[in-house]
């Protein structure tokens, strides 16, 4: 297929993903899809730092929590409009991500994984910490009002939120793709594959690594922000260690170092636990584990890798990603 044709097809597909559910899906399904969008952004963030840059992070749940709490606190304490919270969440996450990226320079591989895991483990406790409870609401959490559609649009809250989240995610996905295919993306991958050679080529390792961490935190944090709006409630129990692991699972299952993989990964972490629960109430965790193992056998390069193998036309945009 001609590259131009496949590009047009891709645009039609993306537009359909954004519009069709609004008219076709029920409120509950739209809510689930909104969560998928937020997970997709978060997994994409994870993918930036781990998939493209090779820094294993098991602590991205922390950025997700920061994004979610930023939105909740701004709306609850200062009655600020929901959309204004997203850029603030992005900036806060960028700063935190950058700061965490600094010690990350000294650790690599498994040691970095453990360090970031510690971050994830600390988050629920920090949220409950007494000095912050005026802001965070402690264990009780914060309820967030669901935004209504603006300008008198004939959409209900679920429909509007899906559209809004989709638009935010679309912009960020395009940014991520441009970043990944460009000079910086190549540098990120070079650092992952051959750090010594990359450095010899004149790439500033420290600069790229810390900034990748910051960018990745922004994506994941905005994902958390959108999720807070969709769920309408944040509490420490929503952001336990398992969340970070879940995002990691989403990245690997979807396909590491792939833009579209983030979407597949998000679909997996949103829907597969529900399937597992339907199969067995006694041990949903075990069923989930089995499904995960099967996926790793069938699609060792992630779902995106599988799609690439069977759908060569998808190769052009996917490979560039």
């Amino acid at each position: 297929m001609h590259p131009a044709t496949s590009r047009i097809l891709l645009i039609i597909l993306v537009a359909a993903l954004g519009v069709v559910p609004i008219f076709a899906a029920s409120g509950y399904t739209l809510f689930q899809l909104t969560l998928v969008v937020s997970y997709a952004l978060s997994v994409l963030g994870m993918n930036m730092v781990t998939g493209y840059n090779g820094q294993i992070s098991l602590g991205h749940g922390a950025f997700y929590a920061i994004g979610a709490y930023t939105t909740a606190i701004m709306m609850d304490h200062w009655d600020l409009p929901y959309w204004s919270t997203i850029p603030v969440a992005a900036v806060l996450c960028a700063i935190t991500g950058f700061l965490i990226g600094l010690p990350a320079l000294r650790f690599s591989g498994l040691y970095l994984a453990l360090t970031t895991l510690a971050l994830a483990a600390a988050v629920p406790q920090l949220l409950k910490y007494n000095a912050f409870t005026d802001w965070t609401g402690g264990v009780q959490g914060i309820s967030v009002f669901k935004p209504e559609a603006p300008f008198g649009l004939p959409l209900n809250a679920d429909q509007w939120l899906y559209l809004f989240s989709f638009a935010v995610a679309l912009v960020l996905f395009i940014l991520a793709r441009n970043l990944a295919v460009g000079r910086i993306g190549r540098a990120m991958k070079a650092i992952r594959d051959q750090p010594l050679a990359a450095e010899a080529m004149g790439i500033n390792l420290a600069k790229i690594k810390t900034r990748t961490f910051a960018v990745s935190a922004v994506f994941t944090g905005v994902g958390g922000s959108l999720a807070a709006l969709a769920v309408g409630f944040v509490a420490p129990d929503s952001f336990n260690v398992l969340l970070s692991i879940t995002l990691f699972v989403g990245m690997v299952v979807g396909g590491a170092a792939s833009i579209s993989g983030a979407v597949f990964g998000a679909l997996f972490i949103q829907f597969v636990p529900n399937v597992a629960d339907q199969i067995s109430k006694a041990a949903p965790g075990a069923v989930y584990g089995v499904i995960l193992i099967v996926f790793m056998f069938v699609a060792p390069a992630g779902i995106a890798g599988l799609v690439r193998r069977f759908l060569p036309t998808a190769k052009a945009p996917a490979r560039s990603g």
Partner: protein, 403 residues
């Protein structure tokens, strides 16, 4: 679906009352009810951190199966749907929305956890879906003014604290009280209860109040400072890990106060054994359910009923797990409400009947403890009995106390 059940309800009424009662059901919302079935849903942590509560959900499912085997309620079979929420509030919201919007349940029953129930409370109240007899001890579930569609079941932490306060007031009127509480909702509910129970005497009697965080390594220094205050009554509102520390430290520094401890930490395995059973002698806590391991209930009719149920419907269930007992109790109450509904299973009537339980005897509650509600009383259980740790077991003493 909604329309169809509505029409069914209309048809039923028209046939039965020749159109007389038409107005009432026409105004009511009847969802999840057909001529032969009634749909109920809940969420439970079958996986994740709190999966030890899973038996409660399995007990609930088994109970409704038993009800169906006995012919159902109001001519309808119960269709009970229970989803895993892994104790994660976003998952609870998702699953409860599924129950309400997709499965179209009549109401939500016995969902577990304070954060998870907080996450869905606003949604369910907006949609006017009853959220009944939920499994959490926070006091806020009794807020009938702001959240008319939400009701708890077990005695709240405040109820328990008020019972201790009244007992202290009566038996140690000149006591000097020290209190340690966990610095969160749970602990603060306790403080409120003690304040309410002591009333004006609070300022005079309570001479030391300390707190701890769940991030603290130990509470040793708090215990020492309470002893130094000269208090002779100690109230502990702590989860098992810290309650065990309080018991051990109190014993080790030779302090012998009258020690009242929340029943959250009454577990022998989680609190008493780690603290040392001999160090805990004399600690007072409270109970409202019959303890399945207590030999006193060996031949008790209520517990025999429960054991027969377990044998037939949960054959692999652990008979020492109190979760099954609590589940059976909440289900019995729900069953009673559905019986009171007659054949009108509109959401309005379900919440109306739930707020109109009159002194119901529940087989697994301690003798004398009754379930009672009214439109201005959303605390179904407000009685408990004190129990003292004897060194080997909790020995109940005195009469049933009301808050």
């Amino acid at each position: 679906m909604k329309r169809r059940t509505f029409l069914t309800a209309m048809g039923g009424v028209a046939a039965a009352g020749a159109g007389v009662g038409l107005a009432t059901p026409a105004l009511a919302t009847t969802v999840g009810v057909t001529k032969t079935t009634l749909k109920i849903g809940n969420t439970m942590p079958y996986s994740g951190n709190a999966s030890s509560y899973g038996p409660i959900g399995r007990g609930d499912s088994a109970y409704w199966k038993m009800v169906n085997d006995q012919g159902g309620v109001g001519g309808r079979m119960i269709e009970f749907i229970s989803y895993d929420d892994a104790y994660s509030p976003p998952k609870t919201v998702e699953m409860v929305r599924k129950l309400v919007e997709q499965d179209q349940v009549a109401f939500v029953f016995h969902t577990l956890g304070t954060p998870s129930n907080t996450a869905i409370r606003k949604y369910l109240n907006q949609k006017k879906v009853p959220q009944l007899f939920i499994a959490t001890g926070a006091d806020k579930w009794g807020d009938y003014k702001d959240f008319k569609w939400t009701m708890g079941w077990q005695p709240s932490y405040q109820v328990e604290a008020r019972i201790y306060a009244k007992y202290i007031l009566k038996n140690f009127p000149n006591g000097k009280i020290a209190m340690i509480y966990q610095n969160d909702d749970f602990g603060k509910d306790y403080l409120t209860g003690i304040k309410d129970g002591l009333g004006k005497a609070f300022d005079k009697m309570v001479i030391k109040v300390v707190t701890y965080e769940t991030t603290d390594a130990t509470v040793d220094s708090q215990v020492v400072s309470m002893k130094d205050s000269g208090a002779d009554v100690l109230v502990t509102a702590a989860i098992p890990k810290y309650a065990a520390q309080v018991i051990r430290k109190t014993y080790d520094i030779g302090w012998k106060p009258h020690h009242f401890m929340t029943n959250v930490s009454a577990s022998v395995g989680a609190t008493i054994t780690p603290a040392g059973p001999e160090k805990a002698i004399g600690v007072i806590s409270s109970q409202y359910l019959k303890d399945p391991t207590d030999p006193e209930w060996k031949d008790d009719a209520g517990m025999n009923e429960w054991r027969a149920f377990m044998k037939k419907y949960v054959p692999n269930g652990d008979l020492t797990d109190g979760g099954y007992v609590a589940s059976y109790g909440a289900c019995t109450t729900m069953h009673q409400v559905l019986k009171q509904c007659g054949t009108d299973f509109s959401r309005e009537n379900i919440i109306k009947q739930a707020a109109n339980i009159k002194k119901e005897v529940v087989p697994v509650l301690l003798p004398g403890i009754l379930v009672d509600t009214s439109p201005t009383d959303y605390h179904p259980i407000q009685q408990m009995q004190l129990a003292k740790w004897s060194g080997t077991t909790w020995a109940r003493f005195g009469e049933i106390l009301a808050s």
